[in-house]
């Protein structure tokens, strides 16, 4: 399967469509892995834009931002799977991981789409550059969370244990955000200015 075809199939899955003809289990696995790898490339684009204040930061961000996304996802996924098992949810762990992968792809796609805007404002505005960079991350997180919730809700529609599946989504999103907060702090600096997020949990919740 060529990358272009995989990308269009991935977009179909991300927007909540069904593949025609329906994909086999092997094809679904390939698409999920492709979603993660594409997400890393898209996150890298945003990292380069957000660090464009200096060449060194930009180059460092090209690998730091994808790693932050990947490591946060890896830290959160086991808890989501355990929640599925403990609550006897009507969703297979493979389906949860697949929906998680496509939603991360959706979120990083938003990040990459906003990357040129982040870069241009970074260099031309002293007021809007950093807020726009941070804002683009929140927009991407909101998009990914909504896509994840919608993907899981569609898969469990009509099955028993629907509420338990949504609980697993909540746990997974919550832990992803918690891990993201600390991995961002660990990888700092990602943008050239110090923000509350640069210090992780301790500075965000300092009061």
């Amino acid at each position: 399967m060529e990358a272009r075809s995989q990308f269009s199939q991935l977009m179909t899955l991300t927007v909540g469509g069904e593949l025609d003809p329906p994909s086999s289990r092997a094809q679904h696995t390939m698409l999920s892995v492709f979603a993660i790898l594409a997400s890393l490339a898209l996150a890298s684009l945003w990292g380069i834009a957000a660090g464009s204040a200096s060449a060194a930061l930009s180059i460092a961000n090209a690998y730091k931002v994808p790693f932050v996304v990947l490591l946060s996802a890896l830290a959160a996924l086991p808890a989501g799977v355990v929640t599925l098992r403990l609550t006897s949810a009507g969703l297979a762990a493979r389906e949860l991981a697949s929906a998680f992968a496509t939603s991360i792809f959706g979120g990083t796609l938003v990040l990459a789409t906003l990357a040129p805007l982040v870069a241009i404002y970074y260099h031309t505005s002293s007021k809007a550059g950093v807020p726009l960079a941070l804002g683009s991350v929140f927009v991407a997180l909101a998009t990914a969370s909504l896509l994840f919730g919608r993907a899981v809700a569609r898969r469990v529609a009509g099955r028993p244990g629907r509420a338990a599946s949504i609980v697993a989504v909540g746990v997974l999103v919550g832990l992803f955000l918690a891990a993201l907060l600390q991995f961002v702090a660990l990888a700092s600096p990602i943008i050239s200015e110090v923000t509350p997020w640069s210090g992780g949990f301790d500075t965000v919740f300092s009061r």
Partner: protein, 60 residues
């Protein structure tokens, strides 16, 4: 000089290196999973072609 959580900058750098090593390992695992799924899919495609050919022959 202290960094995250009151630890030294060297400690934080070491934590990042360990985390990055886990990330690299995860990437390697993802590549292996992808390659195995790709070869399984090729096998499924081949089986489908054989099944179709067998059905055609049986229909004649």
């Amino acid at each position: 000089m202290t960094a995250l959580g009151g630890h030294s900058a060297e400690h934080i750098r070491a934590v990042w290196l360990v985390a990055a090593a886990f990330g690299l390992a995860a990437l390697a695992v993802l590549v292996v999973i992808y390659r195995r799924a790709a070869s399984r899919r090729e096998l499924e495609d081949a089986e489908r072609v054989i099944d179709d050919a067998f059905r055609d022959d049986a229909g004649r």
